[in-house]
């Protein structure tokens, strides 16, 4: 059975290098487009890097419909730029397309559209729906006797949606152990901190544990932890799993972090801000290399 796992099995150092490159691309393409959600894309980019390039996932970019492929569903569809740079890096399409983000006639749409871009597993952008879709894929594997795994990434603000909890209950009922949910726990939603907008959602681990899920909390920017936790989830039996990944919107970059009231949610950086952010990214990466 063809699998590309080995092709995409990179060391932690290489993964950090990829994440650095993808972070830079996120800033570049959203700044060029003049809109989009760079901060929400950056908070999850280490997770996506770990998923797609550590060998955790089985996929074949030449055959996006391969029935045995593992699925990744980006439920927080506004993180689309982060998904696009990841899919381009994985080989699903020509990276030159990235610079057409949000332009008419481009498949690199404002939010993911599964009908126009290979590698996109679900059309998202209306929050709260991806986990249900992922559960459907996970159940289809059971019906068909297949062994693929399904990964769904949701935002913490997105968890305000009741459908997240409908799907959480149903996944526990059906004991789908081929379903791994990743919470991009960046602590902010559109108008402010999650703990102010919807205080009952914190701490999130307790909620999923109460519904019968296997839960594991990590630093979502620690590549070692990202990869090892994703691997660990494969050994959980009869339980859906959630990785609560503590992340930062804008991932330590001053143009985002200077806006601690989250004013940069859903906004692209100006060209000057982008230059600053990319210089900071380079410095952060150099530090990682030196460590």
């Amino acid at each position: 059975m063809p699998q590309t796992t080995d092709l995409n099995r990179h060391s932690i150092g290489e993964l950090q290098r990829i994440s650095h490159k993808l972070s830079q691309q996120i800033i570049e393409i959203t700044t060029k487009a003049g809109s989009g959600h760079p901060s929400s894309s950056l908070s999850m980019i280490d997770i996506l890097t770990g998923l797609y390039f550590s060998g955790v996932m089985n996929y074949d970019p030449k055959r996006p419909d391969w029935p045995e492929r593992d699925r990744f569903i980006l439920s927080k569809g506004h993180g689309a730029p982060g998904l696009y740079v990841t899919l381009a890096e994985a080989g699903y399409f020509d990276p030159a397309l990235l610079s057409t983000l949000r332009e008419t006639d481009s498949p690199i749409e404002g939010h993911p559209n599964m009908r126009v871009l290979p590698g996109v597993e679900a059309s998202t952008g209306s929050l709260g729906q991806g986990l249900s879709i992922g559960l459907g894929h996970a159940l289809a594997a059971r019906v068909d006797g297949r062994h693929y795994r399904v990964y769904v990434l949701i935002g913490d603000g997105e968890s305000d949606e009741g459908q997240i909890w409908e799907a959480t209950m149903a996944a526990a009922k059906y004991q789908v152990d081929n379903l791994t949910l990743i919470l991009d726990y960046n602590k902010f939603q559109q108008t402010g901190p999650v703990e102010e907008v919807m205080p009952a959602l914190t701490p999130p681990g307790d909620k999923w544990r109460a519904f019968g899920w296997y839960t594991h909390e990590i630093d979502g920017h620690d590549m070692n932890k990202v990869v090892s936790s994703l691997e660990m989830m494969k050994s959980v039996v009869n339980q859906p799993q959630i990785i609560i990944a503590n992340t930062k919107k804008g991932k330590g970059l001053s143009p985002f972090e200077a806006n601690d009231t989250n004013r940069l949610h859903g906004k692209a950086l100006s060209e000057d801000q982008a230059k600053t952010a990319i210089a900071e990214l380079d410095a952060m990466y150099a530090k990682l290399e030196g460590a």
């Binding site: 597993e121 059309s123 209306s126 709260g128 986990l131 249900s132 289809a140 799907a167 209950m169």
Partner: protein, 321 residues
């Protein structure tokens, strides 16, 4: 109910019963069918499928948004997924999920909404879908089917699995008067002429086909010959049949168990106005919610009785050029 009884129509099973029976039968032939239920399988009649194919049946609880999303994921992984609930909860509660997770990506999901219309009767307005056709038809990529009787429901159940893409099938609770003989098969998007006539055309769907036949019989006694079309697919609408009706009979009355906004009448009117303007009358629920009560009483009170069709026919004939 007593629709059609005055002209001797016999009663068969409810469309929901015929659907449930056909679904179970199809489950044997087509191993790719999976069913997702919002904990109402005994009401929607997916129960027979559940009992025969438990490994292909998922009850996700009273959670319509998730119901639709799970069906979407199953379809995206190659299953022919059917999601069923009361029409009102399915369409009205989970509309954005239907839009985003099924219509927009054009996935092969079949939605079946039962307990539609005011023929639901005693349960009252909260349980009666009277907006579902407008909601489903307004979604790009959707096919919308409204079977008239048990034969039509069995046919539609099979047809929707033969059709690739999203479908909404509307079923009802009460036993339905028989419009068709056994082994009926027709084509999605092609209206069926169930009665000939050249003075006026009544275009109906669902239970209103029998009401139209009843009205046509009484009109015949008054010397008016009404053509009756069963527009079992509200979308895609059989535009050719509508234009032909306008051209050949010069007047049209639509009849549907649905609000006057956005359903069959609106779709027919759009074609007539553009292609061949003639007087059109509408038998539908006016801009109101109904109430609890005996279905026959509700049909009279909310304007859906054969007498209302007769009145509307006489009114459009008066306006004929």
């Amino acid at each position: 109910m007593d629709i059609g009884k005055s002209i001797g129509l016999e009663y068969g099973a409810a469309t929901r019963d015929a659907f449930g029976e056909a679904l179970e039968k199809l489950g044997h032939e087509n191993q790719n069918i999976v069913v997702v239920d919002g904990d109402v399988s005994d009401s929607t009649r997916t129960q027979a499928f559940r009992e025969t194919f438990p490994e292909r049946f998922f009850n996700v609880g009273i959670a319509e948004s998730n119901l639709v999303g799970v069906a979407s994921g199953l379809a995206a992984s190659g299953k022919q997924a059917l999601a069923s609930s009361f029409a009102v909860f399915l369409l009205c509660n989970a509309y954005d999920q239907i839009r985003m997770s099924i219509a927009y990506p054009h996935l092969d999901v079949k939605l079946v909404g039962s307990h539609s219309g005011i023929s639901l009767g005693e349960d009252g307005a909260s349980q009666m879908a009277i907006e579902d056709l407008a909601l489903a038809a307004s979604l790009p990529n959707f096919t919308v089917l409204v079977p008239a009787d048990e034969q039509a429901a069995a046919w539609a159940t099979r047809a929707m699995f033969e059709h690739e893409g999203p479908v909404y099938l509307r079923t009802g609770r009460p036993d339905a008067p028989k419009v068709y003989s056994s082994d009926t098969r027709f084509e999605i998007g092609k209206a069926v002429r169930v009665r000939d006539g050249d003075d006026v055309t009544i275009i109906a769907c669902g239970l209103m086909v029998a009401a139209a036949l009843e009205a046509a019989q009484h009109l015949s006694n008054k010397g008016i010959e009404a053509r009756v079309l069963d527009m079992h697919a509200v979308k895609p609408l059989d535009q050719i049949a509508v234009i032909k009706a306008a051209n050949e009979t010069g007047a049209i009355v639509t009849a549907e168990e649905h609000t006057i906004t956005g359903g069959l009448g609106a779709a027919v009117a759009q074609v007539v106005v553009k292609e061949h303007p003639v007087p059109v009358g509408f038998v539908a629920i006016m801009d109101t919610y109904a109430e609890s009560g005996d279905p026959n009483d509700l049909f009279k009170k909310y304007g859906l009785s054969p007498e209302h069709i007769i009145h509307e026919v006489e009114s459009v004939i008066d306006k004929k050029a």
